[in-house]
Homo-oligomer: 414 residues x 2
Amino acid sequence: MTGVPRRRLLGFAGAGVALAGAGAAAGAFATKASPEVENVAAAKVPFRGDIQAGITTPAQDHMHFVALDVKTKSRDELISLLKEWTVAAERMTAGQEAAENGAVGGNAEAPPKDTGEALDLPASALTITIGFGPSLFDDRFGLKDKRPERLIDLPRFPQDDLDPARSNGDICIQACANDPQVAVHAIRNLVRIGFGRVAVRWSQLGFGRTSSTTRDQATPRNMFGFKDGTRNIKAEDTDHLRDHVWVSKEDGPDWLVGGTYLVSRRIRMHIEIWDRTSLVEQEQIVGRTKGEGAPLGQANEFDEPDLHVKGAGGIPLIGEIAHIRLASPEALNGARILRRGYNFTDGSDGLGHLDAGLFFVAFNRDSRTQFVPMQQALSTKDDMMEYVEHTGSGHFAVPPGVKEGGFWGEGLFR
Amino acid sequence: MTGVPRRRLLGFAGAGVALAGAGAAAGAFATKASPEVENVAAAKVPFRGDIQAGITTPAQDHMHFVALDVKTKSRDELISLLKEWTVAAERMTAGQEAAENGAVGGNAEAPPKDTGEALDLPASALTITIGFGPSLFDDRFGLKDKRPERLIDLPRFPQDDLDPARSNGDICIQACANDPQVAVHAIRNLVRIGFGRVAVRWSQLGFGRTSSTTRDQATPRNMFGFKDGTRNIKAEDTDHLRDHVWVSKEDGPDWLVGGTYLVSRRIRMHIEIWDRTSLVEQEQIVGRTKGEGAPLGQANEFDEPDLHVKGAGGIPLIGEIAHIRLASPEALNGARILRRGYNFTDGSDGLGHLDAGLFFVAFNRDSRTQFVPMQQALSTKDDMMEYVEHTGSGHFAVPPGVKEGGFWGEGLFR
Ligand code: HEM
Ligand code: HEM
């Protein structure tokens, strides 16, 4: 461990720093987040814009993710809920309470409109991102025709061990912030507003990010101890974002243009087995060195992996089934995804081990040709599969950003 | 929400700042943590001293707590384990890997001696604190005679709903740090070292502290939205620490002098019911205002509660069964405890709600006359009980600090 602080500590204590991000146009996203503000507690990320925040926003340190079942059968109630959520979400990302005078300034004889646990906390770069699952597009709300063809029920992958209680959902909400209490407060207040109309299906707390999403961010490490996110799509890669993340006009449906698809996988990592594997073996499984995170055969983290270079005996240095080969665009007809996952530790497994892992979140433009073949390759060939277990899964269509005066997902109801 | 950052951001980026704390003598603990360093990522808390760190250390933002069952039957193996743990714990609190060249610099053909996920992270004020549960003092290790009289099996309290899978344990280890990945890494590596000798019984991640333990720290909020820790014993209250926390020579047993007793209670909070309660009712249940945290009848958070002042109709402003009255030294023959709890959110409860609450951790000198009567009073009279459910419990004897050349709990084996 070196002395490099995870949160860069700068001579900086100002409030109200706005991070660019959500406001940028989908097709021309080129905002470079300044390293000086990336993780400052007071940072505010604009809620409205052409795209939703929380996708290309510099990945914050903490996440609280919830999947909800809609309980009301009324289309109008669903619409009002989305409108109420939009107001509350915008307020909270600005560092305000869920409603004006929400926690203590309102009618004292009534339940407070904000639950209060973030009262003294700054915005902490909070982003709140919504997505709609396949099940929302059934008969209940007249949305059947709106279901994007690409919003498939994900196939069963080899070795899947999915818990229905950790999978799917009509709606997902991802809250990310540099203070976990701010992220938890956001989800909790949205759930509270939805009381009677939605119920929590599952929720996941992530305590440490596993991906950098801008070139400025130091690459964090996952629970296998490896740097994760090195060759991720970054906010600066505008061509990749256009080609691999944002839904275009040609793709359709209309209501989703400027949106994307979110795939969540709760991946339990059998860390105690991993920890008994030699360093060499770990590095071969991943295809990178553990310390520096360099591709095997190269010296530095950001060197391009050379998938052809061979070592002794003509064996490729990055093995035929190394994780980074199987998941690489080179092996997948150019397919890429934007990863934005978090580490988790959910108590113990009842069998003497910690229940730890990676809450994998990825965004892509067409899961059928990006995430699915990638996970298909990994789940059939990747040696890493011996150490992991996919225990939860979700697939959600993430609408574009909210325009002035608009509300979350309004295009769905036009 | 105001612009006051939770982590005070100062023009300060130095590494290796040592926080005083563990080194001070138990009876004369008078160290005042400087606000300038309290939450700096690079802060290092000394591991050795007369008392263990992690009790009066300024409460860090995150906690990972584990309870372990000892699987070996050999006293010698238990002793070696405690020695190995001591080395690793001291290293990690200094911001180092669990072993020299642990993650990547050792023999590449062997499993690494450090799991690597904290490789680039600074010490983050990590403290690691050990405690021994009643079950350790059975026949297995010849420790029967060493069991402190005060280390009782906690009684069953009214409304207890304890899950054995979240309760008790032979050994507990509490890791607190300002970066959750650092705390999780510490526990995970100690568990790894113990492989075959100990098994994880339960573990709990806390994402936000609920108590301040020094006068400099802003009081954090719990999941009911109230400031928590206002009238806690603080590191500066040397008389209270002597009278209510540290085991003295007269108390005995010898091996525990300078130690204390830790009580853990996993308290599920039914936040969705609480959130439907009016502000007035919430404040009456607690006995304090929600915004400022002032005792009812007073203006400011740190005003002394006046338990006698009456309002309209001669009814006490702080009700007869207000939480802060029932738990006050005035109501409990002067009993006080040092609280050092954390908020948690563990996914959902399968019934449509978040599984959130308070992981209550308290230190006291004699749980029989401090925690037990307090919890007895609360569990029979406190209206707050309608909103909470105690789902886990633990009681541990926390040995004194580790001297130079010594190891965790060595007094036990003399
Ligand atoms: C616990 C499970 C996983 C772990 C520990 C893990 C770990 C890693 C690591 C260490 C890297 C190298 C650094 C980097 O470029 O980010 C990597 C790369 C990558 N992983 Fe994973 N991964 C996991 C699951 C997945 C899954 C489920 C997918 C998608 C289906 C995936 C897709 C990728 C991709 C696309 C890359 C970049 C490949 C390249 O172009 O070099 N990973 N992963
Ligand atoms: C979820 C459960 C609990 C919640 C939400 C809660 C909340 C609070 C709050 C808001 C205060 C006032 C501020 C302060 O002085 O810290 C307080 C005070 C206190 N609580 Fe709790 N508490 C809980 C459980 C417990 C338990 C289990 C105990 C011990 C058995 C306890 C002991 C105390 C004590 C000793 C005080 C200070 C009383 C005084 O001297 O003014 N609390 N608690």
